[in-house]
């Protein structure tokens, strides 16, 4: 088994996909860092001070004024109210929700990329894990060795798990080191509030507690990894079922993008919560962001994702073992 996994890792590394991903991440982090820097600058210019309390207060006031507008949709209004209450809570407890520094940047970056960007990166690897063997024709050599098909697929899947972990860790490390060049590396121990819950559109702060930023970051990464694994497994399955890598990527891409779009408009279609792509923003629960559909919880999202994961894995293995290779 270890030999087979090494084979897959060898192919993975030789294809240099991980390198490409690292470059993409680096470019994106560069862009985000620059954008963040600019926004901090304009904020400072506008307020004449770099005091975070003043700027947080300003954000609250701005939100309050937006809430006064009658053109807001109900869902959006609710979201705004919840985030405003949360900001007020931070302010009242004298905690900076975005302590300047690389750790905060990483946290923001990871949280914002958890439902689309990181799944996309994972897709690059996962979607051609099996279908590329078909495209190359090497599957004919691979499957005529004295090794059971299930074992071959398992070795590929293990390699995929390793690659997903590497991608998640790589994203965190690259964004940490690059953004630190601008924002500095301090803030690992900054306090972060967690435990906000949203019920019936209201922010419940009774369970709130403080967590060090590095702990929070690790928890974020754990959740992001889980999401990435689910997406990877699904595209792995698609890669088994669809022989063309491009078609497989297209299918997964459509699903992911539709999830991002749907999340903004499904609040009244409650059974949409069983779709995997609606459940990808797990980090939102730690931050007390209202889920796209009333009644979704961290546990329900994880259960839905687990169910998709198990189903995808089953289908992938079933199809791969049974399939005739023409």
């Amino acid at each position: 088994m270890i030999n087979l996994v090494q084979n897959e890792i060898m192919k993975l590394l030789a294809k240099k996909r991980l390198l490409v991903i690292a470059v993409i991440v680096a470019i994106l982090v560069g862009l985000f860092t620059y954008a963040q820097m600019k926004s901090v600058e304009t904020q400072r210019e506008k307020l004449g001070t770099s005091d975070w309390r003043a700027s947080l207060q300003q954000q609250i006031i701005d939100t309050q004024n937006r809430l006064g507008s009658s053109r807001l949709s109900d869902e959006w209004r609710e979201q705004l109210q919840i985030s405003m209450k949360q900001q007020q809570y931070y302010l009242d407890n004298n905690i900076n929700p975005s302590e300047p520094g690389a750790p905060t940047f990483v946290r923001m970056f990871i949280e914002n990329s958890s439902d689309l960007f990181i799944p996309l990166l994972v897709l690059v690897i996962a979607s051609d894990m099996v279908s590329s063997e078909h495209a190359l024709g090497s599957v004919k050599l691979l499957l005529t060795r004295p090794v059971k098909r299930g074992k071959i697929l398992l070795s590929k899947y293990i390699a995929l798990i390793l690659a997903v972990s590497a991608i998640v860790a790589m994203t965190a490390l690259i964004s940490y080191f690059l953004s630190g060049l601008i924002f500095g590396y301090k803030g690992l121990n900054a306090p972060i509030l967690t435990g906000f819950t949203v019920e019936n559109g209201n922010l419940d702060t009774s369970e709130v507690r403080l967590v060090s930023q590095w702990k929070f970051l690790l928890m974020d990464l754990g959740l992001v990894w889980f999401v990435a694994m689910v997406v990877a497994t699904l595209s792995f399955m698609v890669s088994v079922l669809v022989r063309s890598t491009a078609a497989g990527m297209g299918i997964m891409l459509a699903a992911l993008v539709s999830g991002a779009v749907l999340a903004n408009m499904v609040s009244s279609w409650t059974s949409a919560k069983y779709l995997f792509m609606i459940n990808l923003k797990l980090t939102g629960y730690l931050n007390g962001i209202a889920p796209p559909i009333e009644g979704m919880t961290l546990l329900s999202s994880i259960s839905v994702l687990l169910a998709w994961w198990a189903a995808a894995l089953f289908v992938a293995f079933f199809a791969f073992i049974r399939k005739d290779v023409f």
């Binding site: 003043a54 947080l56 390793l162 709130v208 507690r209 690790l218």
Partner: protein, 264 residues
């Protein structure tokens, strides 16, 4: 392909996988099991209450006039004042605009009790307030049915609120000058202008009297500014000032502020 790099990648990412799985279970544990802890003051850094001496700090409180509603450039009188001060003075100017559309005196009374607002008031050299317009006109309702009794009632509530607001501000900051911007009559060219004008002037009278009871508290009239050709200075909603209207208010406030600065 280097065999070593394959092996080291495998080992390294296997390790990462374990860490991430651990993090995941920790996140779940923490989310569902960890007990809420009351946040102790020692956990958080205390707010620095020092006033920045080098800078002129202004906090603007109030309603849509503070917000600048109706000014197509989005600045409002606060924005124009800050621009003028920045141009005319070599000091740094810090402006906190806390205005909220549609705010009434009762809401402002609550707002100034908030911790962060109080901190900002504490650091301010000047406090600008526009309030009362929504109390009096109630979004145009008063205009439909001008009932002297209702106006009387609103005025009493307003007086009590403004009294409390002044007290709160003064208790935090005894130094800062407070500028209460008076009301104008946007309906002066409509029928029943006599009634509305009387209501506004009486209202302003009360505001001026209340202001005089507090030290360094200045009532800034605007009624006169909008007395003639009011429609040239109003936004298309015929209620909020337009850019020119805000400019007139700002000129007056800026003049007072620069005097204050000069005195110091």
């Amino acid at each position: 392909m280097n065999r070593k790099s394959v092996v080291s990648f495998t080992v390294f990412s296997a390790l990462l996988t374990l860490i991430l799985i651990f993090s995941l279970s920790w996140a779940l544990y923490d989310y569902y099991r960890a007990a809420p802890q009351p946040i102790k003051a020692s956990d958080t850094e205390t707010a620095v209450q020092t006033r920045e001496n080098e800078a002129m700090t202004i906090i603007a409180l109030g309603d849509s006039l503070t917000r600048g509603t109706g000014d197509e450039t989005g600045r409002g009188y606060v924005g124009i004042v800050s621009e003028q001060l920045k141009r005319d003075s070599d000091k740094q100017v810090i402006i906190h605009n806390i205005g909220i559309n549609g705010q009434r005196s009762a809401q402002l009374k609550e707002q100034v009790k908030k911790q962060e607002i109080q901190r900002q008031i504490g650091m301010a050299d000047a406090v600008l307030i526009t309030i009362g317009g929504n109390d009096l006109f109630q979004g145009g309702q008063t205009l439909m049915n001008i009932d002297p009794k209702e106006i009387e009632k609103a005025q009493n509530i307003y007086s009590a609120n403004i009294q409390s607001i002044f007290e709160t501000v003064r208790s935090i900051n005894s130094e800062a000058a407070i500028y209460l911007i008076g009301l104008y009559n946007p309906f002066i060219e409509l029928e029943d202008s006599e009634l509305t004008t009387r209501a506004v002037t009486e209202w302003n009278q009360r505001s001026a009297e209340l202001s005089s009871e507090f030290p360094r508290t200045i009532f800034v009239p605007t009624f006169d500014l909008f007395q003639l050709n009011v429609n040239d200075y109003l936004f298309s909603d015929k209620f909020h000032p337009n850019r020119d209207g805000y400019k007139m208010i700002a000129d007056r406030v800026a003049a007072l502020l620069s005097r204050q600065e000069g005195v110091k």
